[in-house]
């Protein structure tokens, strides 16, 4: 009897409890997302709710920084040429390189007869300036071996150089069609410079005699030292800068007499990529950038790169990494951002740079990529600005004909978030330069107007979160 009562209790307790448990599990379903439209909710930012506000009235202070020297070695490209640019001045670039020992010499014997010696270099299709002009390139033998002058130096710079024989080994006049990969010498992409037979004959004899000089690399370098290839800077022989591959070859042609004469050649290839560098010089006199040269000469601390404000440079900022010219932007009033009404935090910051229309053309091209790097009053290049997608390259939108719609745009949210917290008069800045390796191999350049320039087009779009409190 007792047992029955107990069982009864359990049964009705179950009847009481089971629906609860079932309800509990069914209630755990996902809430469906139903789109009710906007009529019930506020769609402007004037309420007491959190809102997003955009301001673009921050003045950017522009200046231009001149980097004293920057590495130009081992870039894989030789920059050769001279051109004049009304804005950036006259730029000359020559290249230094070292040659290795002749290869494939076993075919040469006492019957072999020397024919000729030429230097071959191949264009890499990059150029800057007017490509219709004929160029003259000289090649001279160095008086010194290419080696680091100090034990603390590990690379060569744009201002490095070695003395060379003033009378060149040879030269060539050539017109280059870079986009087609051809030259007026009709040797595909190769530019050929004839070298003197005296040199050729001498090399040939050493090879015939199996001289140690042509078998041992150090001996050969001590003998041959190296080459420099440089442009003629006189009008009619210059006006354009071209890029060449660093794989320069000296080709020695010979033949083997007999019933059937065989013609053959051996190559002396370039040696040690690290010992190839470009020497780049700029003459900025008579241009807006002359102020930079003045600033460089008069700066109190030679360790700080020279800087000239846009006010001294036609109210503009200039960028040409291959001549050491970097733009610098500072936003002195960033510290006022947290005092904006209702300010809670930066949501997004977008920097838009529009180059001055008319300062660029297909010949005087804009860099396809410009990076922003953090810097301060010392003008040292810091880490580049990144966003979630990695380094920001400016995603250039280019339009040669349109007025002012050519733009570089950057997501600098992380940088601005950090900068607004600094307070005071902000002296940190962003250096604008080409990314590596283009920074040492491309003469592409850009000009941006400052706030007093009628072509001013630098905008910092700041989106911040606001909540009245």
């Amino acid at each position: 009897m007792r047992m029955t009562e107990k069982n009864d209790l359990k049964r009705y307790q179950l009847g009481f409890l089971l629906p609860v448990v079932i309800m509990f599990f069914l209630a755990a379903c996902q809430k469906p997302s139903i789109d009710f439209g906007a009529s019930f909710v506020n769609n402007n930012s004037n309420s007491n709710n959190t809102s997003v506000i955009q301001i673009d009235t921050f003045t950017a202070r522009l200046s231009t920084v001149l980097v004293d020297s920057f590495p130009t070695a081992a870039t894989g490209s030789m920059l050769l040429g001279y051109y004049h640019d009304n804005l950036f001045g006259s730029v000359t670039s020559s290249s230094f390189l070292q040659m290795g020992i002749p290869a494939g010499t076993s075919g040469i014997n006492n019957q072999s007869v020397y024919d000729s010696l030429v230097l071959n270099m191949r264009i890499n299709k990059s150029f800057f300036g007017d490509t219709t002009l004929q160029q003259r390139y000289y090649v001279s033998q160095l008086n010194e071996i290419i080696q680091y002058p100090y034990s603390t130096q590990y690379t060569y710079y744009n201002n490095s150089g070695f003395s060379y024989n003033a009378s060149p080994l040879g030269f060539t006049d050539v017109t280059i069609y870079p986009t087609r990969g051809l030259t007026s010498q009709a040797l595909d992409d190769t530019v050929k410079i004839d070298l003197p037979d005296t040199l050729g004959q001498h090399l040939f004899e050493m090879i015939q005699n199996v001289s140690d000089t042509v078998k041992n690399l150090n001996s050969f370098i001590a003998y041959f030292r190296g080459l420099t290839i440089y442009p003629d800077t006189t009008p009619g022989h210059s006006g354009t800068l071209y890029g060449f591959k660093d794989t320069v070859t000296i080709r020695l042609f010979y033949h083997q007499p007999g019933i059937y004469t065989t013609y053959n050649f051996i190559d002396i290839k370039f040696n040690n990529k690290s010992n190839q560098f470009n020497r780049i010089t700029a003459d900025r006199s008579g241009t807006p950038l002359a102020a930079l040269t003045t600033a460089q000469a008069s700066r109190p601390n030679p360790l700080i790169h020279a800087e000239a404000p846009s006010s001294q440079m036609n109210n503009a900022m200039y960028v040409q990494s291959a001549t050491g010219v970097q733009g610098k932007i500072t936003f002195p009033s960033l510290s006022t951002v947290p005092a904006l009404p209702g300010y809670l935090g930066i949501l997004r910051a977008q920097l838009i740079l529009k180059p001055i229309v008319g300062t660029f053309s297909p010949e005087l091209a804009l860099p396809p990529q410009l990076i922003l790097s953090q810097t301060d009053v010392n003008n040292q290049l810091g880490s580049p600005i990144t966003s979630t997608g990695g380094v920001e390259y400016g995603s250039l939108y280019i339009d040669y004909n349109g007025a002012g719609i050519t733009t570089y745009s950057y997501d600098i949210t992380n940088y601005i978030k950090q900068q607004v917290t600094l307070g005071g008069n902000n002296t940190d800045g962003l250096l604008i330069s080409l990314p590596s390796p283009a920074n040492a191999t491309s003469f592409d350049r850009a000009v941006f107007g400052d706030a007093t320039n009628k072509n001013y087009n630098i905008t910092l779009n700041l989106y911040y979160i606001s909540l009245p409190h």
Binding site: Q13, M23, P32, I34, F36, A38, I55, L344, Y463, H469
Partner: protein
């Protein structure tokens, strides 16, 4: 008894855990949808029960009803409700316009400590908030940059009450519920970019608490041999809720951007009045009618609490007096056992028409519907089941408003047993 208590405690914990999944677009306003259902025996009567007295069931429509409970019994009730809603309106996306949920609605207990004194305690919903909206947000200072605002609200106010009623002169019962209202509304606004990637979220946690008193009266008697009548009335005075709002603004990675606790404030609940009548013929056929009124129009809720509770503070929306009429008819199947009428089952129908406290875009939100109910009292166990279905229409489908057509299914389970004494059971 111990087991029963453990069941009740378990049920309470479920009530705390349950999650609502239905969308109630109108709950974005005020303190949400104010619960006007009781999930009890009157559910099949469209909750018409101000003048309802029951010896077997807890009629929490009117605190004066507890004195009608049978002597020596202990009664416990739980209820759940399943609701299917279909939304329509010019702004509603027709591809996804339905939602369904099942929620646990109440747990209440009642006893009759003495011959004229009935008492009840319980936990029931008072209001609930549940909405999801998307809305374009214009970015200030731009010409046409648009972000997306995602509004989400959840939570609600619970009511835990202790009700007592006492019978005077066999014809009059007076009752009072002493309640504590507590709960929180979680309101979230997420600003998203046009691809719905979160940019920043603002979370308002609105805690509402206070004591609440409501009073009830029932006057009842017979007219001739066949007719019984009950006249009922309820009243609650205007009373404030203490409001504590904490606000956090979070970055997408949930790091804190800003937090604030607002000064304590109040949100006033209005004066409530209710009147009802019921007529029963031959103990079997009962006709009921209720009228309820809440004076929201004279409640002056101002200040930041109001604008925050109504995140749409620049919208055309206002609060006004609400009223509701409902009628019900019940047919009870009873048998006479040992000269005692014992109910085995009952059938109910009801109809209601209400004007809610919301006026949106110049239109007071109406809620109209009907109910059908059936109840069975178990012969072998101390359980009784009340099942009701409801169909209603709330709001109108216009360019600005949303209409909800809903179907509800309520199951209330009642358990009763002797309290203290272990006498013989009569069913």
């Amino acid at each position: 008894m111990k087991r029963t208590l453990s069941i009740i405690i378990l049920s309470v914990s479920f009530l705390q855990l349950e999650a609502q999944t239905n969308n109630s677009p109108y709950s974005i306003f005020g303190i949400g949808d104010i619960e006007d259902s009781y999930f009890n025996r009157t559910s099949g009567l469209s909750n018409t029960g101000i003048a309802y007295r029951s010896s077997r069931y807890l009629i929490n429509n009117n605190p004066a009803s507890y004195s009608a409970l049978d002597n020596d019994f202990f009664t416990g009730e739980i209820a759940g409700c399943a609701k299917l809603i279909n939304y329509s309106g010019a702004n509603v996306n027709t591809n996804s316009n339905q939602s369904f949920d099942i929620t646990f609605k109440k747990v209440i207990l009642g006893i009759k400590p003495s011959k004229h004194w009935g008492t009840s305690i319980g936990l029931v919903p008072f209001s609930s908030q549940n909405y999801v909206f998307n809305s374009p947000l214009s970015v200030n200072g731009t010409s046409g940059v648009i972000a997306n605002q995602f509004f989400q609200g959840s939570g609600g106010i619970n009511k835990v009450y202790w009700g007592n009623s006492y019978e005077f002169f066999h014809h009059l019962s007076l009752g009072v519920n002493v309640s504590y209202l507590f709960g929180s509304l979680q309101q979230k606004i997420i600003i998203q970019d046009p691809n719905q990637v979160e940019l920043v979220s603002t979370n308002n946690n609105v805690n509402l608490t206070n004591f609440y008193f409501d009073y009830g009266m029932q006057f009842y008697g017979k007219v001739g041999n066949k007719w019984d009548y009950v006249l009922g009335a309820t009243f609650a005075n205007k009373s404030p809720l203490n409001v504590e709002i904490s606000q956090t603004v979070l970055n997408p990675d949930s790091s804190l951007l800003y937090s604030n606790i607002f000064p304590l404030s109040t949100f006033n609940l209005p004066t409530s009045l209710g009147a009802g009548i019921s007529l029963t013929y031959n103990k079997r056929y009962t006709l009921l009618a209720d009228y309820k009124y809440q004076g929201w129009g004279s409640v002056n809720n101002t200040g930041y609490i109001n604008s925050l509770l109504n995140q749409t503070n620049y919208m055309n929306y206002s609060i006004q007096n609400s009223n509701k009429i409902s009628v019900g008819f019940e047919m009870s199947k009873k048998k006479s056992i040992y000269n005692t009428l014992v109910e085995f089952a009952y059938y109910q129908a009801g109809f209601y028409y209400s004007n809610s406290y919301l006026n949106v875009y110049g239109q007071q939100i109406r809620d109209i519907g009907g109910t059908l109910g059936v109840g069975v009292n178990s012969k072998r166990t101390p359980l009784a089941y009340a099942f009701s279905v409801q169909y209603g229409v709330k709001g109108v489908a216009t360019t600005q408003l949303i209409q909800e057509k809903y179907a509800g299914f309520t199951l209330s389970i009642s358990y009763r047993d002797f309290w203290l004494t272990k006498g013989r059971k009569f069913f």
